[in-house]
């Protein structure tokens, strides 16, 4: 039969709540429900409600599905292929770089890591230990050195030795911190990366949208990796896909090097609707 207007509103409200409880940002959840309301106005059939919700989420998440995988992009790009990792404090950038280095090494590629966090206590030691465990070359300077200089050094090393990839780690920073965003802009200007990857924390709520849009506006974001998905519902992927429409390359699903999986929209939809 057909949905009455009051019943439709209740269904849409319940759906908005389930989206928000899965960490879809408030305004995005509202926009999604507004879009759905419009489509329901055109076709009020009762028996495809759950299908329509699924289709809507698929439509949104498919905008974040990478058209080409990382390996493909690398093979089409310059050598060395330079990837700059950025994001706010504690989201999982350094650990994600280690995972990506592991993944690429296993594909037979020669990786160089630039210890670009020259600020935080223990940052260089942290990535140095990962590089040692992975058998990957690390380029580092002293604590307090210019981060752009480390990146530049790593790229020069890779060029000289015919290495395939340079992964640049950077210090976490609040997107609202003017000076730190200027510093990041300088690192990007000097290193001219082939890809700028925003690493987000899948546990974060509404702020992840402000983080990603600010980093994109100020520095530029080419793709996204969401870490700590093993702890989260993943609604942030929907928010980011809706707002940025940039590819989500990987999801981080734990603290081991293997805990990196390619972004699969279906998995996320099952988490939220299933």
């Amino acid at each position: 039969g057909e949905l009455g207007e009051r019943e439709l509103e209740n269904i849409l409200w319940d759906f908005q709540i389930s989206l928000m409880e899965a960490d879809v940002a408030l305004e995005i959840a509202e926009d999604i429900v507004d879009d759905l309301r419009e489509s329901f106005m055109k076709n009020k059939s009762r028996d495809v409600v759950k299908e329509r919700f699924k289709e809507k989420l698929e439509e949104i998440l498919n905008k974040a599905k990478p058209e080409r995988g990382l390996l493909e992009l690398i093979s089409e790009g310059d050598k060395p292929y330079v990837i700059l990792f950025l994001g706010v404090n504690g989201t999982g950038k350094t650990t994600t770089i280690a995972k990506v280095a592991h993944y690429l090494s296993r594909e037979g590629l020669d990786v160089v890591i630039a210890a670009g966090d020259t600020f935080r206590a223990g940052a260089i030691e942290q990535i140095e230990e990962h590089a040692r465990r992975l058998g990957v070359k690390l380029v580092k300077h002293d604590v307090g050195a210019d981060s752009a200089a480390v990146a530049y050094d790593a790229i020069k090393h890779a060029e000289a030795r015919g290495k395939d990839i340079v992964l640049i780690d950077t210090a976490g920073r609040m997107q609202t911190n003017r000076n730190l965003m200027d510093e990041l802009r300088k690192i990007a200007r000097v290193s001219k990366p082939d890809m700028k990857v925003f690493v987000g924390d899948a546990l974060s709520g509404n702020d992840v949208v402000d983080q990603a849009t600010t980093f994109d506006r100020e520095i530029g974001v080419d793709s996204i990796i969401l870490a700590k998905m093993d702890a989260a519902k993943g609604g942030c992927a929907i928010s980011l896909a809706y707002v940025l429409e940039k590819p989500i390359l990987f999801l981080g699903t734990g603290q081991k090097y293997e805990d990196l999986m390619e972004f699969d929209p279906q998995l996320l939809i099952d988490l939220i609707i299933g």
Partner: protein, 288 residues
Amino acid sequence: LLGKSLSSVIRKISSTALVDERLVKEIVRDIQRALLRADVNVKLVLDLSKRIEERALKEDPPRGLSRKQHLIKIVYEEIVALVGEGKKIVPRGKPFKVLMIGIQGSGKTTSAIKLGRYYQKRGYKTGVICADTYRPGALDQLLQLGEKAGIEIYGERNESDPIKIVSHGLEKFRNFDLVLIDTAGRHKEEEGLLREMEELSKVVNPDEVMLVLDATIGQEAGKQAKAFHERAKVGSIFLSKMDGSAKGGGAISAVAETGAKVAFIGIGERIDDIEEFDPEGFVSRLLG
């Protein structure tokens, strides 16, 4: 009786001619959206909205208060009740032991040093034990921060059992006033790590268990806090990264699920970027 916290809500109420059902619904909707945007738990926000609306429409203003003033008072009371009051932690007994726990990357290590310096400046001799045996560079991070802060650090580079490290550390710091124990990050799906935390808490027998919570955390805050609380009785919360744009609404869920109070907030990466929790300031920021 009110800070600038509810100024925009107050302004709306004050500038309207009549406190009628329409105004109340509008105010409640504004507050609802602000709290949801601030990452307060959805169910808590909906319950709060119902309570405010009911009280505003059914309660008679107490003697001396206009209907407008009464509405403002209700909104303020209900939100502050959710947030709870701060908590003053006074180290007593030798040593006063604080166990720092929380999700990966929430700010435990940085906050442990901030707390150490906060108390050491107030005359408490402080030591920090590195009980994180997983994260590469964890001990180096503490050693470097400890040197900057003038705080002694105890750690064992090649020991993989945090219980051994903590026992040795507590022995070394037995005459200190305050000992903070930094632990590895963990979340509620990691059963092995939760069990380790439980064992650690039994061995340490802490005077205070402090949950370090990232201000950017979303709707999972309550569930995560509850899981930690079931294994180690959380007594206080350190709300980190409040210097960004996140409002820290997850702290409200953590308070609701654990009965703990927010004691401190982190407002930056430097050692002095720590403040005692101020409920009014928090509410003001929550409502944007």
